[in-house]
Subunit: 407 residues, 2 copies
Amino acid sequence: MRDVAIIGAGMIPFGRRDEDTLMDMLAYASMKALDDVGLGDKSVDAVYVANMGGGMLQHQSAIASSLVDRLSLMPAAAETIENGPASGASAVKTGLLAVASGYYNYVLVVGGEKMREVTGWRATDVVATMTHPQAEYPYGITLPGMAGMFTRLYMEKYGVTREQLLAVSLKNQEMGTLNPYAHVEMALDRAGIFDLPEAVVNNPVSADPLHLYDLCPVSDGAAAVVICPLEMAKAGKGGQKSSEHANSKTPVLIAGFGQATDTQTLQERDDPTDLKAVTLAAQHAFEMAKLKPADIDVAELHDAFTILEIAESEHVGFFKKGEGGKAAVAGKTRLGGQIPINLSGGLKARGHPVGATGVAQVVDIVWQLRHELPKTRQVQKARHGLTVNFGGFGNNVLAFVLKRVEL
Amino acid sequence: MRDVAIIGAGMIPFGRRDEDTLMDMLAYASMKALDDVGLGDKSVDAVYVANMGGGMLQHQSAIASSLVDRLSLMPAAAETIENGPASGASAVKTGLLAVASGYYNYVLVVGGEKMREVTGWRATDVVATMTHPQAEYPYGITLPGMAGMFTRLYMEKYGVTREQLLAVSLKNQEMGTLNPYAHVEMALDRAGIFDLPEAVVNNPVSADPLHLYDLCPVSDGAAAVVICPLEMAKAGKGGQKSSEHANSKTPVLIAGFGQATDTQTLQERDDPTDLKAVTLAAQHAFEMAKLKPADIDVAELHDAFTILEIAESEHVGFFKKGEGGKAAVAGKTRLGGQIPINLSGGLKARGHPVGATGVAQVVDIVWQLRHELPKTRQVQKARHGLTVNFGGFGNNVLAFVLKRVEL
């Protein structure tokens, strides 16, 4: 495998973007990533688009081909990659392997989703289409419902408390106020949340024991990266068919990648609290990168529900089982702590436009490793980052270890 | 790039499969391909599923993860690849590059679509979701409508006749009667078709100048292949994490791959009869394989409409522009002719379950190159095959050159 680096990254603000179509958002994010690297459009060999709901929500298919036309990247190859909430990481992975193979040099990976054009239960229903078609969906289970049951089991087995869940929520919503790309820009009032009568009013139960502020919002958004062989990234110029790229930014190596699947239904797992696919995906990514959890300076974990940030922080090896919640309360996952997690605000506050999320996680880590963020959310001298993108309810998980390339 | 070979191939009969779900069909085809190679299920590193309409037609997403569970292939990686009618070839390409990169050894690629659960115009509408979301879809254009306009232009420019179109239809429906996997098993009565009053009765206009028998049917179906590094295919045994595979069948090398995109709308092309993406995709595939059109012994072209078989046979270089239709009438594209095309019956008779088609084309060529077919449709001593999978209306086209590996 050739080493592959990320040379461009871009994102548009997540949230409610009624004025933009899905194609608009994909195009805007793509242009930001292409502009970031100063790459002429005729240099793009292939485009991978991460999207889950285009057919169901926009009644549109073959959006990757449409995007290539919109961006005038013809005759670049194009495919759409779908893997539920992990579609974004799956598209980055597909680009990684395509460049690593030697067949392509410059690849654009963009993820996006427009979810706000349906309201209330319909968005929840679209997300629920990733559940088991016979054993789950017909019975009305939703992703928040699964997360509620998972949380209850995790509380019983490891003593996780509501306070620990809220510590994640408070941190991530606070970070959202510092991230101009975040959907949720409202800090939670710690006193208000912990004052019980207020909590009942302000933080109602969504899927017991999860409350409103334990869940990510339904968002529109898109994010994109440009990747190429590390050697070309270092040289700062294109291969035989490419013009030079500006390369003013520090390249970020995709040092490790791991992926694993698990049973689709929770009840078929020996221990439903054991997220085997998270453990395996992270292990494989660390092995490939020849790094260990303690080497990571900053992480973006898939906190669609607060419990997931806690559980993933344990399963990837940052904390022992049962210690992740305590670590959150103790501030160990905040900026300046042992391992800062979701300084972007995470899915909780940046939002979770399904196809965009896995790409957005990578974009935020790229910004961290380039030392480009304002100091309120920049990990000083960050060298190594981790992303975890969680598909289904942990039945298809992808992890990347990213590494700053010192030139 | 490592050389990559196809070591297993399987298909289920296309047609109306009311008794099967989409997941059933994907699982059946996968098992046929896995059985074909005698590969233990724990040896599969990754699964790529080609599907376009799962969200729109089955209200289901993340089907690749679901399939991995259904087949007990965990923790194998999984993604769904979508590229309209070229989704199948795009999934094969994704698998090819993933194995070529060195990251994976054994990869299962399966394509499937269940289209018959909607009736009449709804299937046409689902396919029309691949048209331009502003410039085409809202005006009611459909794929048959585009094909009709394209046919008229092609007739005017190159003198293609209705007789030439019918020659393709007659050949492919006749081949369908010889292929147990084909949806359409009815041979057309040559006399009846060319007898004008009968033709009006039996072959009504669909999208002038295209008639009913110029169009592929709406089908259910699935097809699958298993690929691995050529060296492992030759050795007949797995790598470090694999059990031995039986390898009783002749491996087929993916010798060449090419892909190109074009404008999404026909009217933006300098010459709407010029299928630039077909020409480029085939050229790239031939260059990579170090072969030329005259070296090809058998081809599967994307005849969703009869005009496309004629146009593609010219654009890939089998015939000069304007000669493809005459060649069809002269029998040059029949078994025993200069270049036998669509001996499977093609999309016209095998059917066109969208996500399955590109994989099915590859499966049929694999069978040809292994010399496994009954002599009524086997090209004797076939060594090289070509597939062309045509996405949108020629705005994303993929071609493979496949080569029999003599052991």
